[in-house]
């Protein structure tokens, strides 16, 4: 039986270069490996829990 590749998610909001990653966003394998190499605490395989860490966007005005 084929196994599904594991998915990785952002554990909190962070910036990656000029990209803005939000908590709960699914990360590409490349991004997950790269971010883990500098900040392993920012990558998780628990998507729903990570999404709960998403901060509210400030209202425009």
């Amino acid at each position: 039986m084929a196994t599904r590749p594991k998915k990785f998610f952002a554990a909190q909001d962070f910036g990656l270069g000029r990209r803005r990653i939000r908590a709960g966003d699914e990360l590409s394998e490349f991004d997950a490996v790269h971010v883990s190499s500098v900040r392993p605490d920012l990558v998780t395989d628990d998507g729903p829990k990570a999404a709960a860490n998403k901060k509210e966007e400030p209202a425009d005005g």
């Binding site: 909001d13 962070f14 910036g15 270069g17 000029r18 790269h34 500098v38």
Partner: protein, 136 residues
């Protein structure tokens, strides 16, 4: 909107050691890689390609000793190490974001002596991939 930020004591860690007391400048700056989109209608036009090169620079006044710059950093030359920089040594926050990245430490100078002088030099290195920026 607040006033511009005035740096007093940034945090700069190389391979887990804070070298702010040896540093006179810390910089982490991007350069967009531009694509040639020049045509007869748009002569000279260049458009960002999406690729960005981040360069870390630190200007150091050299020192020698068991825990000093030359002894500690010459031991990790040409290796990939973790860097952490912040505008201030205080805790991470919205007004004190942190950048985490890896980079290959270049071979560092040994000495450049003048009577009564110090040896100041700048190390420049491209980060391995994009830096990670956090505010918590």
């Amino acid at each position: 909107m607040a006033e511009p930020y005035v740096y007093q004591k940034p945090f700069v860690s190389i391979g887990g050691t804070d070298y702010v007391c040896m540093a006179t400048r810390v910089a982490l700056t991007p350069a967009d890689q531009m694509g040639d989109a020049s045509t007869f209608c748009y002569p000279g036009l260049q458009i960002p390609s999406g690729l960005v090169v981040w360069t870390f620079e630190v200007t150091i006044k050299n020192g020698y000793g068991a825990a000093e710059f030359w002894n500690a950093v010459s031991a990790i030359e040409t290796t990939k190490v973790a860097f952490v920089v912040r505008p201030d040594t205080g805790t991470i926050g919205v007004t004190n974001p942190q950048a985490d990245f890896n980079a290959y430490v270049p071979t560092i100078p040994f000495m450049d002596a003048t009577p009564g002088g110090t040896h100041e030099f700048t190390l420049s290195m491209v980060t391995v991939g994009d830096p990670v920026f956090t505010t918590v």
